[in-house]
Symmetry: C2
Subunit: 485 residues, 2 copies
């Protein structure tokens, strides 16, 4: 296919698949050959919904200016007053050059931290100095989504979109709305289902001025409609299947390496929902190894919530694997059919990973192969206990994030992760994203605990930190402090 539109010559190939029935023609308008000219895509391959091909942004590295060593990228540090050097995404532009740098959009994303935590290390079972938390909650919208959104948003701008849409009530909608409000380059359209709207979850999207369309239907209806409407009206779709978001999410790993002075850790542990992070991490390390920028692979551990354990079920019990690029995806199709027949739906306190059919399943299977990965699942009880440990020993996080820590603990106990291994757990979202779970865990109000947590099978708050009530008298207070403090 000849080059069309304004897609840069060096970003040679964008290939697509939908391995799992989630594929939908509506989405493909963004990247299908029919719209190639309009959207400036150079080369696109659209695969059938059940084949094993992958929608990827593929680079012809031979035609690109690749750094000779990762440490070369540090040159950006000294140019902090250049927004693209300041950005935690775009200072790595040479490793995701799908849009010319001058067109890349930044709102200051990626000022995140890699923090060692002795307290959480002890809980996990790691030796001191071997355990780190990568804190993505410090992004502008409060979650890791800003990494991918800065990339997708840059692509949307590059191809001339004036509106961008997603179906989401959570972190994705907050991130899209934020990029629109700060840059004014596009109008955000958020699709949500109806019934009682959880306005709390939507508070960021509303605050950032996104047009919020409430469909008379459930989330699946909202998802179906956003694809249809985006295709018809030429609105750029940023839902998880968008491959440019994954390009941005690669930079989480670049920042981990940067903070470790370009040493590869032994393990990356990440919560698994739609599997965009794990897919992006696998692609990032695969590229770095091929480019000779790292000399070994870290291992990847993907942690499902037990109440949303599609990946764990497929990989651990049903033996779905990469199979040299021909994963037996009929295993997944069969499983989804079963879920539908039984009316089973994901349910976990970790709402950010409460996913039935992970959009990026196929790429994630590839990442597991690339990084000799493992999958585990953890209960809501384990998630909340781990979350309390992250709070007490770090910067706090939302429930889904803590799945990584709970999973690391399980893998250390199993001996899969060694106590000496250098481990990085990804904390995907800010503690303030879900104060309800925090309050319910630490409360002395049994009814509140039962309503929020007991109903999910959480029976204890082993690490609850409860306020100590004392009289308004010095000696009583002093006694309490000496006792507990």
């Amino acid at each position: 296919m000849a080059a069309v539109g304004r897609f840069p010559a060096h970003a040679r190939s964008v290939r697509e698949t939908e391995a799992i029935p989630l594929t939908d023609p509506a989405y493909q308008q963004c990247i299908s050959p029919a719209c190639g000219a309009k959207y400036g895509i150079d080369e696109v391959r659209v695969a059938c919904s059940r084949c094993g091909d992958l929608l990827d942004v593929a680079y012809d590295w031979n035609r690109l200016s690749v750094p000779s060593a990762l440490s070369e990228l540090q040159q950006a540090w000294a140019r902090r007053d250049d927004p693209h050097c300041f950005s935690g995404v775009w200072r790595f532009h040479r490793l995701l050059p799908f849009v010319p740098l001058e067109q890349c959009v930044t709102v200051g994303e990626g000022q995140t931290l890699l923090l060692p935590s002795e307290g959480v290390a002890r809980y996990v079972g790691s030796k001191p100095g071997r355990f780190y938390l990568q804190y993505e909650g410090m992004n502008p919208s409060g979650s890791f989504k800003d990494n991918g959104m800065s990339a997708a948003f840059s692509h949307a701008r590059f191809v001339g979109a004036s509106r961008a849409a997603c179906a989401s009530t959570g972190n994705t909608s907050a991130s899209l709305a934020l990029y629109c409000s700060v840059t004014k380059l596009m109008r955000a359209v958020i699709f949500v289902g109806s019934g009682k709207i959880a306005y709390g979850k939507l508070s960021q999207a509303l605050d950032y001025g996104a047009l919020t369309v409430q469909i008379a239907g459930d989330f699946d209806d909202a998802m179906a409609r956003v694809k249809e409407v985006s295709q018809q009206l030429g609105i750029y779709l940023v839902n998880s299947v968008n491959p440019f978001r994954l390009e941005g999410q690669k930079t989480i790993m670049y920042r981990v390496l940067e903070a470790l002075r370009w040493e590869v850790p032994d393990w990356i542990v990440v919560p698994g929902g739609n599997l965009g992070n794990s897919s992006a991490f696998g692609k990032a390390f695969d590229e770095l190894l091929r480019l000779g920028l790292i000399d070994r692979m870290p291992r990847l551990a993907i942690i499902n919530a037990a109440g949303a354990n599609t990946l764990s079920e497929l990989v651990q019990r049903r033996k779905l694997c990469w199979n040299r690029g021909k994963p037996p995806l009929e295993i997944a199709c069969r499983y989804y059919d079963e879920m539908d027949a039984e009316g089973r739906r994901a349910s976990t306190i970790a709402s950010a990973i409460e996913i039935n059919r992970p959009v990026n399943l196929n790429k994630c299977i590839r990442a597991l192969e690339i990084c000799s990965g493992v999958v585990r699942e953890v209960s809501d009880q384990e998630i909340l206990d781990a979350k309390a440990q992250v709070g007490a020993g770090g910067l706090g996080c939302e429930p889904a994030s803590a799945a990584s820590v709970a999973g690391a603990r399980k893998l250390v106990a199993e001996g899969v992760i060694g106590r000496d291994d250098r481990v990085v757990c990804i904390l995907t979202g800010h503690q303030l994203k879900d104060p309800n779970a925090t309050v319910a865990y630490h409360t002395t109000d049994q009814k509140l605990f039962n309503d929020v947590l007991g109903s999910r099978g959480v029976s204890r708050a082993s690490f609850a930190n409860r306020a100590v009530s004392v009289g308004n008298r010095y000696d009583e207070i002093a006694q309490a402090i000496e006792l507990y403090g």
Copy 2:
């Protein structure tokens, strides 16, 4: 007084006053001569509670290594992998050298942003390109408090404290608790009043594992007890009167200058509560001018909420002013007596500035003198409308933060701030700190609106962004998008 303890020789003088009755011997234990040896303070002057002297960290700049130009400080940028260079507070250590750098504690604070916003500029009345938002909500605990806490905490560590305390249900307790949880250098003790605890507000302190002592009494009781208990038990007190916190807060201005390539803006606009920020900003600019590092002063605008308007009342109506270092503070004392006699208490939706007696009043009066400052007050209605504009045109904020934008708008309308002036509004806290106010403003639920906002005299939500309800059909959705999007 001879040098004692480990206080560095170059940080020559720490002087104290409590100009306003809020002073309390309990606090002074941290820095009084009696404890000088224990706390390593070289020189201390304790003033009576009604005199005009100031508790300041004063430096003998002649004995210090002062940069010859602010741009020299950029050298830290290239050394991002050194935590002290990465810190948005400690990369300016040469301008707040009260503790040796190697003893300074950082959790990665101060990765904040100065963002231009055309949308908010239009609302305020500023010309395009002349208006900026300094977004302090991106600090680890979600508010500007981390700036001051990193400084006070470093001092606490330096003097050997093993416990640190404050009375707070909000941002201060969150910040203190976070420094304790991340560093494990100290145990945090948070004093709160009783009655029904707003656990939501306390969720961060509880999550970060702080010992939370609930006193049978109100907030004033908690404040009185924390001072008493701190003195008796040798616990380091970090409430607002702590002068080292203000040293950390100076760095907010250094980062503004840094982002403006070391050019001084025309106006700094800041919400006024306990007046720590405005006091710190005045001190920062005063020092920079004396050191020849800037050549002119910005002007300072301090914005009270109308429901917590002590500063505005004292300065605008009762003519309290610096008076060459002898401010007629009896004006303030008289006003407080009146408030007490009438049983008047501060009340505003902007809870972070809902303060009756600002601890830093005296220093703030000095800052107003130094920076040719002005004071205004804005209603809760104006605050919430401004907050909606900040959300729609920027990164969002908590209600108190938006007072700065509402105040800037008022001052532009009055002609005090010129439309051409370069204006920086400080946004002190993250949008996620108070989702309730956001939800109530944008809701279609009249009862919720009335309960949360109507009760505070807010009658309209002029900039509300409400979800649009449509059927589950393409044409209806498309119509809605074309209409609103």
